[in-house]
């Protein structure tokens, strides 16, 4: 059994990206077929610029405003403690001088909750991250992605995930877009001024040795 997380990492630019985040959240309502999203108190969230801005401004730590705001939303009221819940974590408003980034993460859980990957492609088009990927959590842990992040620090990808988007600058860190297009993955194509890599045609499974072998080959190709 596996669980999945969809992460989108954006370069900090010091504002809350209200318009993009509202669009992203509206997309998530459609993606997970929900009438509304819920906040931490279990209250339905009105997806308007004004409401989202209020959330963000309340979440900013007054002592550390340069670190931006973190908010979380749920597809089912968290008070119900339903295992079909998908958690959406948004960190935004980080100032440029910090070593941190803005991010929009979906903690999806089991494979039965993973939506069609085309929704993720739409999300990338909205938020324009420098890196986005669907991570299989056990695979992340086994390859120590968090440990590698301590040294790479968003300069290049820690590992290559099953569904992995890199913008032009990130693609350059592992050889450039042209080099990426030759990677031995199931599908590699130009996407949103960057490159989209899909290792296997189905949902990645870290218990499948063939999937792991493809990942290993691709990472060796990129010298990761």
């Amino acid at each position: 059994m596996n669980s999945y997380t969809f992460r989108q990492r954006c370069r900090p630019r010091g504002d809350f990206r209200i318009r993009e985040i509202v669009e992203f959240l509206q997309l998530m309502e459609v993606t997970f077929q929900r009438m509304s999203l819920y906040d931490s108190d279990g209250e339905p969230v009105e997806l308007t610029s004004k409401e989202i801005r209020r959330f963000m401004e309340e979440a900013v730590d007054k002592r550390f405003p340069s670190l931006g705001a973190s908010v979380e939303f749920f597809t089912i009221s968290p008070l119900k403690r339903d295992n079909n819940t998908v958690r959406i974590e948004i960190c935004t408003g980080t100032h440029g001088g910090e070593p941190f980034i803005d991010s929009c993460d979906l903690s999806i859980g089991g494979p039965w909750k993973v939506p069609d990957l085309s929704y993720f492609e739409q999300s990338i088009k909205i938020l324009r991250p420098f890196e986005a990927f669907l991570a299989e959590d056990e695979n992340e842990y086994q390859l120590d992605a968090h440990g590698i992040l301590q040294t790479t620090r968003f300069k290049k990808p820690e590992i290559i995930r099953a569904f992995h988007y890199l913008d032009a600058e990130m693609a350059r860190s592992i050889g450039g877009i042209e080099y990426c297009l030759e990677a031995p993955a199931w599908r590699v194509e130009r996407f949103c001024d960057g490159v989209l890599i899909q290792l296997v045609p189905v949902l990645f499974d870290s218990t499948n040795s063939r999937h792991l072998q493809v990942q290993k080959d691709v990472m060796r190709y990129f010298k990761l």
Binding site: N2, S40, F64, L67, S70, E72, R81, T85, S107
Partner: protein
Amino acid sequence: MIQTDDQRRWWFATHPEYSWRRRGITSRKHGERKHAPGTYLEYADQDQDEADRNAALDEEFRKAIELDKKGIEADPHTFLDLFPYRRLVTAPISFFQALLRSQAQHTILNAVKKAGDSGGPGKWVEVARSRIGIEHQSKMSGNPIEERDGKRYIKEYLRYGVYFDDYVNGKLYEYKGSYGKLINKFRLFYDWVRGVKTLPDQAKRQAAAARGIPVIWKVGKDQVKAFRKAVGNVPGIEIVP
């Protein structure tokens, strides 16, 4: 009754058969046989051992008589026989071994460390904390909990406005208590858990305040995966079991 050291020496000189070091005493327990029973060699060996032992006793007895005639001399085994090994050697070693293995080890070592701590790049301050997690923090850091006015206080390490649970050997520590009830079968936080976002928030604040000093989060052995996922986008934090 033997009371003086001279009396003891005399007694061992004249009764060498009671000396631990006398020949013929082996480490075998009473009734233990050297060879497997059922072979004739056993009996031959037993006879030979008995003869050797008697000869040795005769020889030592003869020496003892000679010594007695010359006057009392210190038996070469006397000191070793009389030395209170258990009290002065074995017991203290056992005590320190037990101490080092015990839960007290961390507390005592930390108490010594704190007493001599020069302060490092921040300062120790007393902070009021809620009941949840403070005992684990105290156990891990060795800082005692003090109760005043119905509140619980503990010393934490303050650097650039951010609190850390501990500062040891040039590293800043955050001790995370048990989050076991919030962990699902994937060894991750349940997706309905509220407040997971506070973890990356805290991680960011600590990494920013550390300014290059390594920050270590010590979490439960089976919770490493959950915490690594939760602070997945924050560099500068090492999460270890």
